[in-house]
């Protein structure tokens, strides 16, 4: 970025005097040049500074997590990657692993994504291709508004309203499709407050971001492609299939990845909705447990000793890396196709 600015800056100042030789006003020209150059320098350093600051903050967070986590990881008596429970009660005898936490995090987030992606696609297509203009605006606004609801509200709504409401669905799935591992009996004695419930809540929470990104990309479908398709006699569905979807697919996937990133890191709603269990996680949506974020939040009030705290921070480090990977993937996909 700074390189670009460097290149542009001299070329602009060069063009300044080059364009004004005919005008007999060297004093104002010279007066203006230093001040504009100073403004240029100040602005450049401000923008560069902002950029550097963000990168430095991220790096500092990573370093902090690493420094805090290492002593606990060394003191850990269980395998960090495969041990199913998180026992930090006795600082001299730490035994914690992220297997279950990782599974619950991935199950709930991916399930949320599976629910949210088709709906977001439908909403985005409706808003860009079907809805009358007068309706599209307020409708898009309402969908965006979902993102403004605080997550604690989603949590309370999820456990008090949604959980009882979708219990019959969960019971039906468990009774009739229980032979599929996803719907088998979980490690909770109840079918509400499970990963299933949490995933539905998360799906609602990530819907706005997936929809917004997808809608923006679809709206940018080049006019000429649409008109060309129409000229060939395409129906509206065929226009979508021939022009909008191929053009917007990568943006759609990138938006979904951003949603996944949000679902992975969602804390308080998950903490309230998904119930803890005393036995290890199977591979069912009717299991319970903690995600990385909810685990840390649940223990945060008891962070008084360095080693147990470090154990939770090491879980945070894994979440940090995981979110990074997901976001990097999203950038990669989005950068690769939409711009090209």
């Amino acid at each position: 970025m700074s390189e670009r600015i460097d290149q542009r800056a001299p070329s602009e100042t060069d063009s300044g005097p080059a364009s004004s030789p005919g005008v007999p006003a060297p004093p104002p020209g010279t007066r203006r040049r230093p001040s504009s150059r100073r403004g240029e320098t100040i602005f450049r350093s401000l923008t560069t500074g902002s950029g550097v600051l963000v990168v430095a903050a991220i790096a500092a967070i990573g370093v902090f997590l690493l420094i805090q986590a290492v002593p606990s990881l060394l003191a850990n008596q269980a395998d960090f990657l495969t041990f199913p429970s998180f026992n930090t009660g006795d600082p001299d005898n730490l035994a914690f692993g992220i297997r279950d936490i990782f599974l619950v995090t991935m199950f709930s987030s991916v399930f949320a994504l599976v629910l949210a992606m088709p709906i977001a696609l439908g909403v985005a297509l409706f808003l860009t291709n079907y809805a009358p203009r007068a309706l599209a605006r307020p409708f898009a606004y309402i969908v965006d508004l979902l993102a403004a609801v605080p997550s604690i509200i989603y949590g309370l709504w999820g456990i008090l309203v949604l959980a009882p409401a979708i219990l019959p669905i969960a019971e039906w799935l468990n009774a009739n499709l229980g032979w599929i591992f996803l719907f088998a009996d979980g490690n909770l004695p109840v079918l509400s407050g499970t990963i299933f419930t949490g995933g539905v809540v998360l799906a609602v929470m990530i819907l706005p971001i997936v929809t917004a990104v997808t809608r923006e990309v679809f709206a940018q479908t080049p006019r000429f492609q649409i008109e060309a398709a129409k000229a060939l006699g395409a129906t509206r569905w065929e226009v979508i299939k021939m022009a909008t979807l191929p053009y917007g697919r990568s943006g759609y996937i990138a938006g979904s990845m951003l949603g996944l990133g949000r679902a992975l890191g969602e804390t308080i709603a998950v903490l309230i909705v998904i119930r803890a269990s005393t036995s290890p996680m199977g591979f069912s949506l009717f299991d319970g447990g903690y995600t990385f974020a909810s685990l840390i939040a649940s223990a945060a009030s008891e962070f008084s000793q360095p080693l147990p705290t470090g154990a939770y921070i090491s879980a945070g480090l894994v979440l940090f890396v995981l979110t990074f990977i997901v976001n990097a993937l999203a950038r990669l996909i989005a950068g690769g196709k939409v711009n090209g």
Binding site: P189, G193, R275, A276, T278, S298, S301, E302
Partner: protein, 368 residues
């Protein structure tokens, strides 16, 4: 649990304070009422600081209100930062006293003595009863005893019509459905005290370690007292342990408990918890009122409800800074006053029974 004990402890201190103030003869007003009596104990440092157990936070809020009304210009800032943090901050001299679910232990005793330049006292001021709360449609006045509760919470008894439960509830229609156990998923003194009770009162039927996490190995966790209360309300055939105020507010049934003395089932009321507190054994020396909680859990007194948590105020017996000592004394005196004790049941704690309150009052009076 923690909450309740603390409240009770606070009540005791308040009662003690009252007595002290009554004894003092600095007559300021003509009114012979409580306020006047308390006012006699006022004075000392104006802005006290204390921190620690969150279980007694609501009791503290009430005590502080009463304190501010009674002693004009004086106040106390209580930070519910957790018992461990509270003890550390007291030992480090950042606070004037600590609220704690556990008495000073091990090297903390020495450290506290160094900080005070005198012995530190543990005063059990706040007591909170723990309810065995259930949601079992069609069944009222469920009766349980220690061993049966232990077996429900470690998974040995799994259905409501189990013979162990049926034997305690003759004539009631117990459904043949599985028992859903709800437990606290966050670390909690309530959980620790409850498991201590199970270990003490179940003739070894529980057999799990008592820590601030639930170790029973069954059930579904929910976060916080409100969480387990809500989960129990929303899940038919479920049971949980929770501070009594949450059970009542959620409209749950509260089991009557047969204590270690056998005898009649005891409902949870301030009176029955008070009966158990009256009979609790003190293991500390003199005014250092460290309790043997197992004697509470295994109480054999008639009409005594055995499951409660106690929280202490940890104070210096002789403050190096006289105004601080006077201020702490004034606060505790107020907390033990009937005015402060009255409102405790609403907040989920029990007012201290008279004899116990007298004992705390004596201890508070001896603070210098």
């Amino acid at each position: 649990m923690r909450y309740q004990r603390r409240v009770a402890a606070v009540g005791l201190v308040a009662a003690g304070a009252l007595l002290f103030s009554a004894c003092g003869s600095d007559n300021e007003g003509e009114g012979g009422g409580q306020a006047a009596a308390n006012a006699q104990a006022c004075g000392g440092k104006q802005n006290l600081r204390a921190s620690g157990s969150s279980a007694q936070a609501n009791a503290m809020t009430r005590f502080v209100t009463t304190f501010e009304q009674t002693c004009e210009g004086q106040t106390l800032a209580y930070t519910p930062s957790g018992s461990g943090a509270g003890r550390n901050e007291f030992i480090g001299g950042q606070t004037d006293f600590a609220g704690s679910d556990a008495a000073l232990d091990g090297e903390e005793v020495q450290q506290a003595q160094q900080r005070c330049g005198s012995e530190a006292w543990n005063l059990p001021l706040v007591f909170g009863p723990i309810a065995i709360a259930y949601n079992l449609p069609g069944v009222q006045d469920l009766v349980l005893d220690g061993p049966t509760i232990a077996k429900i919470f470690n998974g040995q008894v799994t259905t409501w019509n189990d013979p162990a439960i049926a034997a305690l509830n003759p004539g009631k229609q117990l459904p043949a459905v599985p028992i859903v156990v709800n437990f606290r998923s966050d670390e909690s003194g309530t959980t620790e005290n409850f498991q201590n009770y199970l270990n003490a009162a179940s003739n070894n039927a529980y057999g799990k370690e008592a820590s601030d996490s639930f170790n029973g190995g069954v059930g579904a966790g929910a976060r916080g007292s409100q969480g387990v209360a809500d989960a129990t309300r929303n899940t038919p055939n479920s049971i949980t342990y929770v501070e009594s105020s949450f059970a009542t507010r959620a409209g749950l049934g509260v089991a009557q408990v047969i204590n270690a003395g056998g005898g009649q089932p005891v409902p949870l009321t301030p009176q029955t918890v008070g009966n158990a507190i009256e009979n609790v054994a003190v293991v500390g020396q003199g005014n250092n009122l460290v309790l043997d909680l197992n004697s509470l859990f295994t109480t054999t007194a008639p009409d005594a409800y055995p499951i409660a948590l106690a929280t202490y105020e940890i104070v210096c017996s002789d403050y190096q800074d006289d105004p601080t000592g006077q201020g702490v004394k004034a606060f505790l005196t107020t907390a033990l006053s009937p005015t402060a004790q009255q409102g405790l049941p609403e907040a989920g704690y029990v007012p201290l029974p008279d004899r116990f309150r007298q004992r705390l009052t004596d201890a508070v009076n001896a603070i210098q």
